[in-house]
């Protein structure tokens, strides 16, 4: 069930450099959402920007949902000006979220930059299922690191201002190799989200080590519901899948990253 509603903004706060976390009152979406799903927000009544903007559900807290965004584009800059008490047009929950029903004991969450967006919600649900969670969070610099709601956090920054100096995937690889995992790799599952170069490196690593991996992808998107067929992603079978409906979460061997 997709819910279309005008909801109340409960809070909208700066949590890192140019990064905002917005809390929206929406009992129905909060109740129905699954980790990895997203909502669409209609930014402007005046058609500019025209298309709605998709945001991963960062977390659900009782009747509220949270999103996180970097105020860099036209839409997100407008969104950053929304104050508590404002009303906002939202539509969701949309898309296919993470599969947490398969066999694994340890969840490894890998986030690049704002790729952290779906993971506090996933972490909450995984904890309810008594899974062990390790979180790898990477960003360009320490001012852009957000880790609220994550567990067992390991950080990498490109400039070395916090944690490991280098990419999050290099850091992840050295950690996995040092874990002395004799034959237990199959009990791991990796959940990744972030920019495409990072996801590509992650998928290569998971293929190399034969680790089950799901990634949440980001594409240009219009409707968010499958109506427009605009957010096509190449699938391994030579067809296309839709990021909005078949994804945004895909198993790493389902699709070909671009």
């Amino acid at each position: 069930m997709i819910i279309k509603t005008t909801a109340l903004v409960v809070s909208n706060e700066l949590v890192a450099e140019n990064i905002y976390r917005m809390e929206i009152l929406s009992p129905e979406i909060s109740r129905n959402a699954k980790p990895g799903q997203f909502i669409n927000i209609k930014i402007s009544e005046n058609f500019d920007p025209f298309l709605p903007r998709p945001f991963s559900i960062y977390n659900t807290i009782e009747d509220k949902i949270q999103i996180i965004f970097n105020a860099i584009g036209k839409g997100t800059k407008i969104l950053s000006t929304f104050k508590a008490g404002a009303s906002i047009n939202i539509f969701g929950p949309l898309g296919r979220g993470f599969n947490i029903a398969d066999e694994f004991d340890i969840a490894v969450v890998v986030a690049g930059g704002l790729g952290i967006a779906p993971f506090p919600f996933l972490t909450k649900i995984l904890k309810e299922k008594n899974k062990k969670i390790i979180s790898f969070v990477g960003a360009k610099t320490k001012n852009q690191i957000v880790t609220d709601g994550l567990e067992n956090i390991k950080i990498a920054t490109d400039d070395g201002s916090l944690g490991y100096k280098g990419t999050i995937i290099e850091f992840l690889k050295s950690n996995i190799l040092n874990m002395n995992l004799t034959s237990s790799l199959s009990t791991f599952k990796i959940f990744g989200c972030g920019p495409n170069p990072m996801l590509k490196a992650l998928v290569n690593l998971c293929n190399e080590l034969k680790i089950n991996c799901e990634i949440s992808v980001e594409t240009q998107m219009a409707c968010g519901t499958g109506l427009c067929r605009g957010c096509a992603v190449r699938s391994k079978d030579g067809n296309y899948k839709l990021a909005c409906k078949d994804g945004p979460v895909f198993n790493s061997n389902e699709i070909i990253l671009w």
Binding site: M1, I2, K4, K42, F47, D48, P49, F50, L51, P52, N89, F91, T219, Q220, M221, A222, C223, T225, G226, L227, C228, R229, G230, C231, A232, V233, R234, G238, N239, Y240, W258
Partner: protein, 308 residues
Amino acid sequence: MVKTEVTIGKLKIKNPVLVASGTFGYGDELLGTVDISKLGGIVTKSLTLKPKIGNPPPRIAETPCGMLNSIGLENIGVDKFITEKLPVLRNYDTAIIVNIAAKRVEDYCEIIKRLEDAEGVSAYEINISCPNVKEGGLEFGTNLSMTAKIVKETRKITDKTLIIKLTPNVTRISDFAKVCKEEGADAVSLINTVVGMAIDIKTRKPKIASITGGLSGPAIKPIAIAKVFEVFKNVDIPIIGIGGITTWEDAVEFMIAGAKAVQVGTANFVDPTVSLQIISGIIRYCEENEIFDVNEIVGSIVLDSPQV
């Protein structure tokens, strides 16, 4: 009580608001969210004889007050539509207008033949104006003799209402509407998208993979109004107006320019329930202006000075 029924050829629709091809899937995608039986009708995504996987991504790019798309007629093919979609759709009290695209005249005819044997099709909209496929799109819709041939041949296959969807990417759209009428079409729908292009200045690459795409959304509305009015002035054929309609005011504007009905397109991507709001807005407009029948609005444009 405002009379909202309008007639397009042999097709009676309960109100003048349809959802445009390619913007509402096959009509069954959002049944839990949008009550499609309140719509005048649904125009399906373009169907081809064989399924098509569509164009490579990126397929869309947002532009000021609109978007470019190049989906490339991705669709399940006519046979699957008949077996999987029509049985669901015909349970709803709304007109099902099937949009058809093809590379060859014979294929247009074959698709209609197959649909004629199925139950639940209210009318056909012939797409001769898709800007995003190599053959069968603009190549047909920008050529008067090809347009004539397609209308003539498809007309032979069906008695149902035949609507020809026209492109604005021509010098005089009314010449095309005239040919459609002469060859027996019941109506024309206009406009399809306007050929457009956008470039990412950082990478210097086109924003969509097929380089050019079709521009839609409020950005093209004034173009569409001008084309509707041109056809209305010059050709006596029912017009379905399309192009950037997002509010009831837009719909009324198209009707004043001469459209008997309208299609809501890209706005469905922003809010898939927008057509229902447009319908109630049109009714409210009629009530407030003591208009008893929406047909009174059609072509009611007021021109003060003699036209040049």
